[in-house]
């Protein structure tokens, strides 16, 4: 297990390195560049040249990358042009809030998806199953921003049950204090993955119900309810846990849109605004964090599955 982990961590490091290279070079292909973004359309050619020289943007891209990598290895993510703050501080302040949003969204999605998927599997191929499948598929195929807009119009503007805007507090505690404002962003985030989770669980439970061990349980005299909750669910959840890890990037990109929509000051909004102004250091920093989260997510998923599933657990000598 230790050797396997070390190997996976090494793999992850390589992946992250490649991601930074690709993103760095792609960013520098964007026309206009950071100088135009920061100095505005009114700036003269000379002003732009001076800015680019000061930031080192007139050097060849590979050299720039080496400088960036050197600073990165010392833990320096650089400084935002627009906000005049260190990127590490900016991300540090917003990451916890994005985590709150994604974790809550995932929990809500799971709380709905697990019973829904199981229920659909048990009543498979009947009208209620088809209806629910159609409904979850509809949510799944609707773009996040549209789902968010519909929520805002229906629940915030028409019904006025919840505020239009997400909590604006700086701290996580402050965010939780304003829990009513959190409801719509969390529901929107949950909508992104709800259908994926419930459909996955449904088919997994359906497959498992056809397994021989279920026939054995029936032959023992176990009730259908017991078969689903005690026999099938543990098998199905094992694979759902693995899927969670792989869906981390999807959750993150969902947060990007959700945060913009509800003006929630998390990493997604930070990234969004930075993208508008070509604020390279922020963009690079956020991409780095997300790529780290992605590879750790899939690593954790594999490890978690190995721990839950006794077949992949190391056999004791």
């Amino acid at each position: 297990m230790a050797r396997y982990l070390l190997w996976r961590v090494l793999q992850a490091a390589v992946v992250i390195f490649v991601v930074t290279v690709v993103v760095f070079f792609l960013l520098h292909q964007i026309p206009g560049g950071p100088a135009r973004g920061i100095l505005g359309v009114q700036a003269t050619e000379d002003q732009i040249k001076a800015f680019e020289h000061a930031q080192g943007y007139d050097q060849p891209v590979p050299i720039q990358y080496l400088h960036y990598l050197g600073r990165l290895l010392q833990g320096d993510l650089g400084e935002s042009f627009q906000l005049n703050q260190r990127v590490a501080d900016l991300i540090g302040a917003r990451l916890p809030k994005t985590l709150v949003l994604t974790v809550l969204s995932t929990l809500v999605a799971l709380l709905v998806a697990i019973p829904l998927g199981v229920w659909q599997a048990v009543r498979r191929n009947r009208p209620t199953d088809y209806l629910l499948s159609a409904l979850t598929l509809l949510i799944y195929s609707t773009p996040v921003f549209l789902v968010g807009f519909i929520f805002i119009i229906v629940f915030a503007i028409n019904a006025a049950w919840f505020p239009v805007e997400a909590p604006q507090a700086d701290t996580v505690a402050g965010v939780f204090a304003d829990s009513q404002a959190l409801v719509l962003p969390v529901l929107t985030g949950a909508g992104v993955v709800l259908a994926v989770f419930s459909r996955y669980l449904r088919s997994s439970v359906v497959d498992n119900l056809d397994e021989d061990y279920v026939r054995t349980a029936r032959a023992k005299g176990a009730s259908e309810a017991r078969i689903v909750t005690r026999h099938v669910l543990k098998n199905s959840l094992t694979s759902l846990v693995a899927m969670l890890g792989y869906y981390l990037p999807v959750l993150f990109s969902g947060a990007l849109v959700t945060e913009k929509l509800f003006n929630y000051p998390g990493m997604g909004l930070l990234f969004w605004n930075a993208a508008q102004t070509s604020d390279f250091p922020i963009l690079l920093g956020v991409v780095l964090i997300i790529s780290i989260a992605t590879v750790t997510g899939s690593l954790l998923a594999d490890v978690a599955q190995a721990l839950i599933d006794p077949r992949t657990r190391r056999v004791k000598a």
Partner: protein
């Protein structure tokens, strides 16, 4: 105890069971025999009330005075596992992979019994089915046990609530013969001790002869014959039963002699194959002469398939050499191998998965001809299909439109397409019903005599090898423990393991089988 009265079961327009009637008395083993599709499993399963919803049932199934068909779901659940229990064929998939043995045993106990210490009872059950260190076993997961041990756990679960009847569906089919003999002994012992009636569903006449008191023979959903085991197996009344019995390969019926030594087509020297440090094949050497059939026998995991794969270069040996037609294959490039592979044909166990589902019969058979740029495909295909006795109507059919036996004939035709000098056959008949197996073996024997190809015939079935082989090599745990002429190895085995293997294979004659069992001790 258990009575089937005019039971009919239909699925749509398929009649799986037609007016089946038989009864099972306490402490008696009734074997329900038949080939695949005979309706034996569906019939037996109906007593559990566990048929698929779309099944339409008429007739009566009476268990302990109650008609099962009139019970509610709740009443049926109280019956299952309690008064009537099941043992299934595949002990790996029949146990839940994510729960411990202990959890699953305790469940079987507590679903029907209110006892203070179900764990203690679970330990007693495991002891009763002959598992060592029962306390430790409770904490293990199914994948940590061998096939035989898992089947013992299944049996422990079945007897957990002292059922009146146990339905055992092919309980030993997935097991090796030596393990099969142990499990059959265990079932016999438990039946005598607990007085449980057993309905034994099987296709193996040897198993029937070993365990059954009475036999019910089913054919296409109907009971064609039933009676005491000795009557049915020794003096069969129905034509189908006679045909079925005649198809069973019997040890000692072989007649082929070892041929005089010729230039070997295949020469394997000190072959070793390791997987992750484990020796799957451990220093084996053998030769196959021109026109000779070598039977490579052994139980699962003995390394016989790996050895076979090495001989055609599908598996790289860790040590040792393989010489094909006088050339060391380790020294050949992939391109250099090609003229040699043209001289080798292969037949695999499962014709359903070794034929491309999107190729017609003619295309399957033509493929080696195309690959090796042979001429006159059309005539050759006709010739080959004639040789394996497949009519020209099958030419344009796809594998799924054929029966298992027909598919294996296509495999044989494909293997023979290039008129090979050496044929590697890995368990070619073990997925087939006995009557189909018999016709395939006859065909094979006839073709081999006519075309005089050499053959490495890999099988776990000693009786099949006895029929075909000139010489036999016995593999055990990666090694060849004994090798010699068929007559010597089967008639006068020297090694303990060969003797055990021969003694464990049940024969389809109840009187003879009883004697064998006694002498086995």
């Amino acid at each position: 105890m258990l009575d089937y009265h005019h039971l009919s079961i239909t699925f749509g327009d398929v009649e799986a069971a037609k007016a089946v009637s038989f009864s099972v008395r306490p402490g008696e083993v009734v074997a329900v025999v038949g080939e695949s599709g005979s309706g034996k499993t569906v019939t037996a399963m109906s007593a559990m009330g566990l048929l698929p919803r779309k099944a339409e049932v008429t007739g009566e199934i009476v268990l302990g005075g109650r008609n099962i068909r009139q019970l509610t779901n709740k009443e049926l659940r109280e019956l299952r596992g309690n008064e009537i229990a099941m043992v299934f064929q595949e002990p790996m998939t029949a146990l839940n992979p994510v729960h411990t043995i202990g959890w699953q045993l305790v469940e079987a106990i507590t679903l029907h019994q209110d006892i203070a210490d179900p764990k203690q009872k679970a330990v007693e059950l495991l002891t009763m089915v002959g598992l060592d260190r029962p306390e430790q076993r409770l904490k293990q997961y199914p994948h940590e046990l061998s096939g035989g041990m898992r089947q013992r756990v299944m049996i422990a679960m079945a007897i957990a609530c002292d059922p009146k009847v146990i339905i055992a569906d092919e309980p030993t089919t997935a097991l090796d013969v030596t393990v099969q003999a142990e499990i059959l002994d265990l079932l016999r012992e438990l039946k005598d001790r607990l007085g449980t009636a057993i309905v034994l569903i099987t296709h193996s006449m040897g198993v029937v002869a070993d365990l059954a008191d009475r036999v019910v023979v089913m054919y296409r959903g109907e009971v064609v014959e039933q009676g005491d085991v000795e009557d049915v197996l020794i003096r069969p009344g129905h034509d189908y039963t006679r045909r079925l019995l005649a198809a069973v390969p019997r040890l000692g019926s072989g007649s082929r002699q070892a041929e005089a030594a010729t230039e070997p087509v295949l020469k394997v020297r000190n072959l070793v194959v390791s997987f992750a440090g484990q020796r799957a094949v451990d220093d084996i050497s053998f030769e196959i002469g021109k026109g000779e059939v070598l039977g490579l026998v052994g139980e699962s995991g003995s390394g016989k398939t790996t050895a076979g794969r090495c001989t055609v270069g599908l598996q790289k040996p860790t040590h040792g050499s393989v010489e094909l037609f006088g050339q060391d294959i380790a020294r050949l490039s992939t391109r250099g191998m090609r003229p040699l592979t043209a001289r080798i044909g292969m037949i695999f166990q499962d014709p359903a998965s070794s034929l491309d589902p999107r190729m017609t019969v003619a295309e399957c058979v033509a493929e080696p001809l195309v690959l090796h740029k042979a001429k006159n495909h059309k005539e050759r295909i006709t010739e080959l299909l004639d040789a394996v006795e497949l009519g020209s109507v099958t030419r344009d059919r796809y594998p799924h439109e054929l029966s298992g036996g027909q598919r294996q004939r296509v495999s044989i035709a494909r293997a023979l397409a290039l008129d090979p000098d050496l044929l590697i056959a890995d368990e070619p008949t073990s997925a087939l019903d006995v009557s189909v197996q018999a016709s395939i073996l006859e065909l094979f024997l006839d073709l081999q005599r006519r075309l005089k190809f050499s053959c490495l015939f890999i099988s776990h079935d000693l009786a099949v090898v006895d029929m075909l082989a000139n010489r036999v090599a016995v593999m055990h745990k990666g090694r060849i423990v004994e090798q010699g002429s068929r007559a010597d190895v089967f008639g006068d085995p020297r090694e303990q393991y060969t003797k055990r293997l021969l003694a464990a294979a049940p024969v389809p004659d109840p009187v003879e089988q009883r004697e064998r069992r006694v002498s086995r001790g």
